[in-house]
C-alpha cells in the first residue's frame, strides 16, 4: 500500500523538476542574454578593478544610458511589427531644440516647455505614422526622410547652440529624488524604502497571478519556479538598492530621477505590450500580417499608433538628453537610432519581426551601456569602443540565428 502511494508522489516530484527545466529551456534566449550581461558586468568589474560597480559609476551608467532604454522601448515595438525607425536621433535634436527655444527665447516655464515638447513628439509621430500606415510608404523610407528632415530643421532652429539656464530643468538628468527620509547610516532612507516596496510588489503580483490562475481552474507554473524567480529578482533588487542608497555626494544621493522616469516608462510600456489588446495586435501584425487582417485587426491603425508612441518616446528622450547636456545643439542625438536598434537586436528581437520583449531590449541596452562605460573607465579610445560595440551586435544576432538553425 505504502509503495503504491509513494510511487506517484515521486513521479509528481519528477514531473515538477521536469517542468521547471522545460520552462528554463523554453526561455533559453532570454536567460541567455541576462547571463551574457552578468558575464560582461563581471569581466569589466575585474578589468576596471571594481570601479564599474562603485555606487556613483552605477548611477552614471543609468543616467548615461537612459536615452537608449527610452528609445529602445518604442523601437522594440516598431521592430516587432516589422517596421524600423531611423529618425529618432534627429527627433531628439529637433525636439530638444524646440524645448530649449521655448525656455530660453520664448520664456516659457520649464514644466510647460516639457509638455509642449511631448506634444510636438506626438504630432511628429502622427506625421510619420500617416505616411507609413495610410499611404503605404515603408517605415524605412519614411523615417529615413524624417531623419534628414528633422536633422535639417534642428540645425535651422538651433543654429550654433542654445544653453539652458533653468536649474530645475537641468536637475532632471543629474539630481536625485529628495532625501526626505534622511540618511540611515551611510544609506539614503527613501531608496531603501523604495527597494523594499519593489520586492513586496513583486512578491504580491506573482502570488496573486498564481492564485488567479488556480482560481479559474488552470494549472500554474510550478511553485518551485516561482520561488526561484522571486529569490533571484529580490537579490538583484537588494543589490541595486544597496548601490543606489550609498551613491551620491555630500549634499544629495540615492535614487536618480532618471531611473524613476525610465522605470515608469518600462513598466507602463511592458504592460501595454503584454497585457493590452493593442499589444496583442502588435505581435499579431508582426507575426503574420495577412492572418491579422483576416482576424479583423485594423493593421493600419496599429502601424499608425506605433509611430505615435515612437514620437512620444523620442520627445521624452529629447527632454532627458537636453537636461543632461544643458544645451541644445543640432548634433544632439547623433546615431541614437543605431544604439536603440542595436539594443533591440541584442535583446533578442527578431530581425523579421513578430518576436521581442521590452525587458529584452532593456537588457540589450544595458549590455551596450556596460561595454561603453567599462571601456571608457579603462580609458579605451571611443573609436575602439564603437568597433567593439559593432562586433557585439554582430555576435549576438549571429548567436541567435545559429541557435535557431540548430533547433530546427
Amino acid at each position: 500500500m505504502s509503495s503504491a502511494t509513494a510511487a506517484p508522489a515521486k513521479k509528481q516530484e519528477k514531473n515538477e523538476t521536469m517542468s521547471v527545466l522545460r520552462s528554463v529551456a523554453n526561455n533559453a534566449r532570454q536567460y541567455g542574454i541576462v547571463g551574457a550581461l552578468l558575464v560582461i558586468v563581471l569581466v569589466f568589474e575585474i578589468l576596471t578593478r571594481g570601479v564599474l560597480l562603485k555606487p556613483n559609476s552605477f548611477v552614471s551608467l543609468i543616467q548615461q544610458n537612459a536615452y537608449v532604454i527610452i528609445l529602445a522601448i518604442g523601437m522594440v515595438m516598431v521592430i516587432i511589427a516589422t517596421h524600423i525607425d531611423l529618425s529618432v536621433g534627429s527627433l531628439v535634436a529637433f525636439i530638444g531644440g524646440v524645448c530649449a527655444l521655448l525656455m530660453e527665447r520664448a520664456g516659457v516655464n520649464w514644466g510647460l516647455a516639457i509638455v509642449i515638447s511631448l506634444l510636438v513628439g506626438l504630432v511628429i509621430g502622427c506625421w510619420q505614422g500617416f505616411w507609413v500606415a495610410y499611404v503605404g510608404i515603408p517605415g524605412f523610407i519614411t523615417t529615413l526622410a524624417g531623419m534628414l528632415m528633422f536633422r535639417g530643421l534642428a540645425t535651422v532652429i538651433v543654429g550654433e547652440s542654445v544653453p539652458i539656464t533653468s536649474n530645475e530643468f537641468r536637475g532632471i538628468a543629474r539630481n536625485y529624488l529628495p532625501n526626505i527620509l534622511g540618511f540611515w547610516g551611510p544609506f539614503d532612507g527613501l531608496t531603501i524604502v523604495l527597494g523594499l516596496l519593489c520586492i513586496a510588489a513583486l512578491v504580491f503580483t506573482q502570488l496573486r497571478k498564481r492564485a488567479r490562475i488556480i482560481k479559474v481552474g488552470l494549472v500554474p507554473e510550478p511553485m518551485a519556479l516561482t520561488i526561484i524567480k522571486l529569490v533571484i529578482f529580490s537579490i538583484a533588487i537588494i543589490f541595486v538598492t544597496y548601490l543606489l542608497a550609498s551613491s551620491g555626494n555630500d549634499t544629495q544621493g540615492g535614487t536618480p530621477i532618471m531611473l524613476v522616469i525610465v522605470a515608469v516608462l518600462v513598466l507602463v510600456y511592458n504592460f501595454i505590450l503584454t497585457r493590452t489588446v493593442f499589444g496583442r495586435h502588435v505581435y499579431a501584425v508582426g507575426g503574420n500580417r495577412k492572418a491579422a487582417i483576416l482576424s479583423g485587426i485594423n493593421t493600419k491603425r496599429v502601424d499608425f499608433m506605433l509611430f505615435v508612441h515612437m514620437g512620444f518616446l523620442s520627445a521624452v528622450a529629447a527632454v532627458c538628453m537636453l537636461s543632461r547636456l544643458a544645451s541644445a545643439t543640432a548634433q544632439a542625438g547623433m546615431e541614437f537610432e543605431m544604439d536603440a536598434i542595436a539594443a533591440c537586436f541584442i535583446g533578442g528581437t527578431a530581425v523579421t519581426g513578430g518576436i521581442g520583449t521590452i525587458p529584452g531590449a532593456v537588457v540589450g541596452a544595458f549590455v551596450m551601456g556596460v561595454i561603453n562605460q567599462g571601456l571608457s573607465i579603462m580609458g579605451v579610445d571611443t573609436a575602439i569602443v564603437k568597433t567593439i560595440k559593432g562586433l557585439v551586435l554582430l555576435g549576438a544576432v549571429a548567436f541567435d540565428i545559429l541557435s535557431k538553425r540548430k533547433k530546427s
Binding site: T276, R280, Y283, A284, G286, N288, K290, L294
Partner: protein, 523 residues
Amino acid sequence: MSQHTHEDARDVILTMDHIVKRFGPVTALSGVDLTVERGEIHAICGENGAGKSTLMNVLSGVYPYGSYEGTITFDGKVCKYKNINDSEADGIVVIHQELALSPFLSIAENLFIGNERSSHGVIDWDKTRAEAKKLLDRVGLPEDPDTKIMDIGVGKQQLVEIAKALSKNVKLLILDEPTAALNDEDSAHLLDLVRQLRDEHGVTSIIITHKLNEVAAIADNVTIIRDGATVGEMFITPETPLDQDELIRKMVGRELTNLYPHHPSNTPGEEFFRVENWTVHHPLDPNRVIVDHANIAVRSGEIVGLAGLMGAGRTEMAMSIFGKTYGSHISGDIYVKGKKVELPTVQDAIDAGLAYATEDRKVYGLNLLQNVRENASLASLKKMSKKGVMDDNIERKEAEKYRTEFNIKCRDIDVQVSTLSGGNQQKVVLAKWVISDPDILILDEPTRGIDVGAKYEIYEIIDQLADAGKAVIVISSELPELIGICDRIYTVSQGVVTDNVPRQGFTQEYLMRGMTKERQVAL
C-alpha cells in the same frame, strides 16, 4: 490531320513506365503509366491531389533519377535526369502554373535568362533583341522585346513563357494549368498557339487542365490519373469526340468508405445567410470576372458545401464576402438573418456574426510565432478585454476549453503553434473562430494536408457546430468529403454557381458535371 490515325504503329516520343514516388511514408504516385505520341497534344486529367504535378516533376528532373521507381524513355533513350537542366537539354520544358518570369526585366531579357546571348561575358543586345523578336513572332505576340514583363497581362506573359521554351529547342512542352489564370479570349489564343506549334513545328505537348471543354477542344489523347495511378486512356478524333461523362466517371470512380461520422441532417431552421447576385472582379485585372452573379443561402443547422475545381472562384467568393479581403468591383447583396448588411471590413463581418477559417492556415490562418492561446483568442480580443486591457484568465479559460473539447494535442496552451501537427493547427484555427461566437462559419479546405484521424475529428466538430444551430459552409476540393459531410452542395464552375444539389442527389458524377460546366460567355 493524318498523323492522328491510331491504327498505324504508334510513333512514341515519351513513355513513363510504372512510376512510383514516395515522400517518406506517403505514396504520391503508386504506378503511373503514360505514353505520349510524337506530335500530339496529350491531356492529363485527374482530381486535385491525384498526382499530376508530382508526375511532371518526376519527368522534368525536379525529383532526380533514383528518387522514384519505374523508367522514363524519351526519344528512344532512358532518362536519368538529375535536375531541370538535364531535361531541358533534351528538349523537355515545363511551364508552371505560377509563371517564372522576372517582372522588372524586359521580355527579351526574360527570354534568354540563364541562356544569355553574349560574347566573352558581355551581352550582345542587338542579337538578343533580334532573336527575341523572331521568337515573339512565332508565338504571335506583337510586343516590343524591350517591354517590361510587369507591363503586359498574364495572357501575354504565358506566351512569353512559351517563346522562352521555343528558344530552348523544345521537343516536349508541358503546360500545367495554362489557362487557370486567363480570361476566355486569352485562353482561346493560347490553345490556338499550342495547336499551331503541333501542326507547324511538330512540337509535342502535354497539357494538365481541369477544364474539360478545353480537353475536348484541343487534345488528341487523354490520360486519366486517380489517387496516384493511371486509370485509363481515351483517344479523341473528329469522328469520336470526347465523352465527358465517361471522363468524369474515370476521374472520380473511387469507392466511398466510412471515413465520415454518421450525422443525420438537422431540420433546417431560420435562414441565417444569403448572398444575392454576388459578382467579384480580379483585383489587378478588372476585366476578369472571378465570381459571376452567385446566389447562395444557408439556414441554421445546415452544412452546405461549395464544390468546385481549383480556380473555380470559391475561396475568392468567400474572401470577398468576408470584409472584402479579395477582389475589386464587388457587387451584390448580403443578408444575415434576413437583414441586409454591408461588410466593408473584416471587423464588420465578425460583428455581423461571420467567421472565415482560411484555406492556407500557415499563410492566412495562424501566427506561427505565437502560442495556442494567443492564436485562439486573436479574433475575439474585444470580448476578452476591458477598456483595452486583456483579461488573461478569460482568455486562458476559453483556450483551455477548446483545447479539451477539440482534443488539440499539445502539452498546454502556451505551446507555439508551429510545433503542432497540421491537424492540430487546423483545430486551433477552428477554435479561434468558434471562440468568436459566430452564427455563420465558412470553412475553407478545413482538412487539407492533415491525416485521416484528424480529419474525422474535424468532421465531428463541424457536425457539432451544425447541431448547435450554426450555419456552416464548407469549401473543399475533395468531392467525397463534401458528399460525406454536407446536407446540400452548391457546385461552382469558373465563377458561376451552376447547381444546388440536395443530399439525395449526391453522386460524384452528377456533381462533377456541375463543377465542369462550361461558362456561358455573357456579353
